[in-house]
Symmetry: none
Subunit: 415 residues, 2 copies
């Protein structure tokens, strides 16, 4: 079977000048890889017609598929659309379906369509529009000489929705791709190299047509097994056998075998067990509650939080005893225990969790350096505390503390 090859083209001066980090090309690379389409090159160019047209021709000469992001805004510095019209040699016409989407997009915001935005529904006649229901720039799909060009907006969430809803399904209809089966295994609470040590003999015994990738992110390590073959059924069965062998090696760390986030898995656990949650978060400053409430339907199990950021608020609003705070300080085991217990009692929930720490860069003392964080979990049976010694980086400390609390909830509720 011929391997289908793709190139990714990111267009925008702001990328070349180092003002905007291009995360789109990276994300697209990963999505194409998952469906067995091979990315052979990624190119970033600026907003200049000649360079854009040259890049189109070069990419077409090498690849079957050219995926383009950026340069679709309504303003005059956005050149992707006119360049595509020139390249495919066809006129601009109004696409009524696209105009309806844009009009509705503005109507939902209670705003009138401007002329500039109306013109975004004008597309080259020879393309098929790719719907954009969450933004104003439609995508475009061109098919000529069995080569496909797709143009998408540079706004990441618009591009991602277009890829998932339309582009990937259409590419899989058009091209015969090899059978690939992916299995995700998500872990939390263990670093990449420690995990690699634990599973090294298993990894070494994998056959050549099954590949393992480590995909670490902040506080988590995702494993991805990729199997190549002829039959989906056979691959699925084979992968399942390998996953069964992996389980006992990493049982405390694996939290899902899919793409669900940790906060999603915890939401499902709490809903299934009919448990409610409240939070008293200090050093995480709202981020932990934000993770929990980012999940649709979280109001089923999450009742609310206190963020007692200041010392007085910890005392007067939350109700931590002044003598505890005075004797042990805000970042201490006695304080974190009170915080978790009090919020659970006050908000009348099954579970209360709490964070208190030195996120940095300021606030450190000789015995409590930046990165010192206490977390606690409380339910009617038990109160569990944990002291973390994290990093010098504020954002990272906030993220890692929140993930540690989520993991504490997971381990406690799973039991």
């Amino acid at each position: 079977m011929k391997k289908i090859q793709a190139e990714i083209l990111a267009i925008g001066d702001e990328l070349l000048f180092g003002q905007t980090l291009d995360t789109n090309s990276h994300w697209i690379s990963g999505e194409l890889d998952k469906v067995g389409i091979k990315v052979i090159r990624r190119t970033t160019i600026g907003d200049r017609e000649e360079e854009i047209l040259t890049a189109f021709a070069e990419a077409e000469a090498r690849a079957d598929i050219v995926l383009i992001t950026g340069g679709l805004g309504p303003t005059s510095d956005d050149l992707t659309k006119p360049c595509l019209a020139t390249y495919f040699n066809c006129n601009m016409v109004m696409f009524e379906d696209a105009l309806r989407d844009i009009t509705e997009f503005f109507a939902r915001r209670g705003k009138e369509l401007t002329e500039l935005n109306r013109l975004q529904a004008e597309l080259p006649e020879c393309c098929t529009a790719v719907r954009n229901t969450i933004g104003t720039a439609p995508g475009m799909w061109f098919d000529r000489n069995n080569k496909v060009f797709v143009s998408m907006p540079g706004v990441p969430y618009e591009m991602k929705k277009m890829m998932n809803d339309t582009v990937i399904p259409r590419l899989l209809e058009k091209y015969q791709t090899p059978v690939i089966h992916h299995q995700i295994i998500k872990t939390v609470g263990i670093g990449e190299s420690f995990l690699a040590d634990k599973i090294s003999s298993w990894e070494k015994s994998l056959p050549p047509h099954i590949k393992l990738a480590y995909l670490p992110s902040l506080g988590e390590v995702k494993l991805r097994l990729t199997a190549f073959g002829q039959s989906r059924d056979a691959l699925e069965k084979e992968i399942a056998t390998w996953v069964d062998k992996l389980k006992p090696l990493a049982v405390n760390y694996i939290y899902t075998y899919g793409e669900q986030s940790l906060e999603e898995v915890i939401g499902q656990l709490l809903r299934d067990k009919k448990l409610t949650l409240s939070i008293a978060e200090s050093c995480t400053g709202g981020y932990l509650s934000h993770l929990i409430t980012s999940i649709p339907g979280s109001s089923d199990y999450f009742l609310g939080s206190m963020i007692p950021y200041a010392y007085e608020i910890k005392m007067r609003q939350l109700g931590v005893k002044p003598e505890t705070l005075e004797k042990y300080g805000a970042v201490s085991e006695p304080t974190i225990i009170e915080m978790a217990n009090i919020v659970r009692a006050k908000f009348n929930t099954d579970i209360g969790v709490a964070t208190s720490g030195i996120a940095g860069p300021g606030g450190a003392t000789p015995d409590k350096p930046v990165g010192t964080v206490w977390i606690a979990y409380s339910d009617k049976h038990q109160t569990i505390t944990k002291k973390l010694q994290l990093t010098q980086d504020r954002a990272l400390n906030i993220r890692l503390s929140a993930v540690a609390v989520l993991n504490l909830i997971r381990l406690s509720v799973v039991g």
Copy 2:
């Protein structure tokens, strides 16, 4: 003056397959831009000899400078160095200074040099070595026909040290670069196309050597003016004149003339005016507090939050009157006014803000569709409310609501 043009080439299968996010090319882009070297293209290719050699030739044909990252590891899948030897047609020889650096690097770690690592000091005879004191792969500088190729490791901190210590200074010695001046203008509270409408006559009157870019993100639009010329002083003065002309056209929307975030600007405003802030956030679920507390030193002005997610918590913990909730519902102007006033009084702060809305996808009623959000600002002089009609997307509604509150604080405090 001839414009000096550069290309950036990132080499590595892990980039193309979406496993490693390439941040090097972005960082290099920014550094070259600062010194007036124009990046005209960035390319990412895999670890295959033929593709690497082709990419070298293509880049050399277009640019004066080709900066390469990646593919310098000691293992056989790293091909950048042999490809450079082939491309520049010269033999590999041992570079004694590089060997000394590598030997010392291992000695500092108490490790012995392996044969694989010793070979990293073998470089093409026709290059100059670029020192690497914090890693094992030396960089390489090639100069032929007045075109420069520089090869650097893919490890970001090694590459950055090489760029700062050696590559940028040598490039500035070799090339005469133009003066470039950038001016950022960040706006909030107005969409890209509406802003473009408001400033279109100003934009059209800009001279050809000053370019305007629109860089929209969720809830904000960043403008960037870029001026090219001979004298930094003259450019700075000229840009300042244009910014002065822009101000009256967008006065309510501009919040900074630098790279600061909105939450940073608000933090500075509150600190300067010695004002304190508390938050009662329902539909934003902690995200607004998270933005505020992501800024180092935010404990100077932010005292704390309540997240009364459930109806009962709004009533019993925050203290919204039951009759208000019963009569108007949680997503209503009377409720949001109480929320902002109560949190301000309870937490004893100068300012209280609040959010309550239907983030979605669930929770809508016929008169309150998904995306209906009330926000409020309260201080001792005034209470301001605003009703937003946002999108169908939960994450976007949370983000846009939080930005709208930040903007409300900004407008109220600036006065």
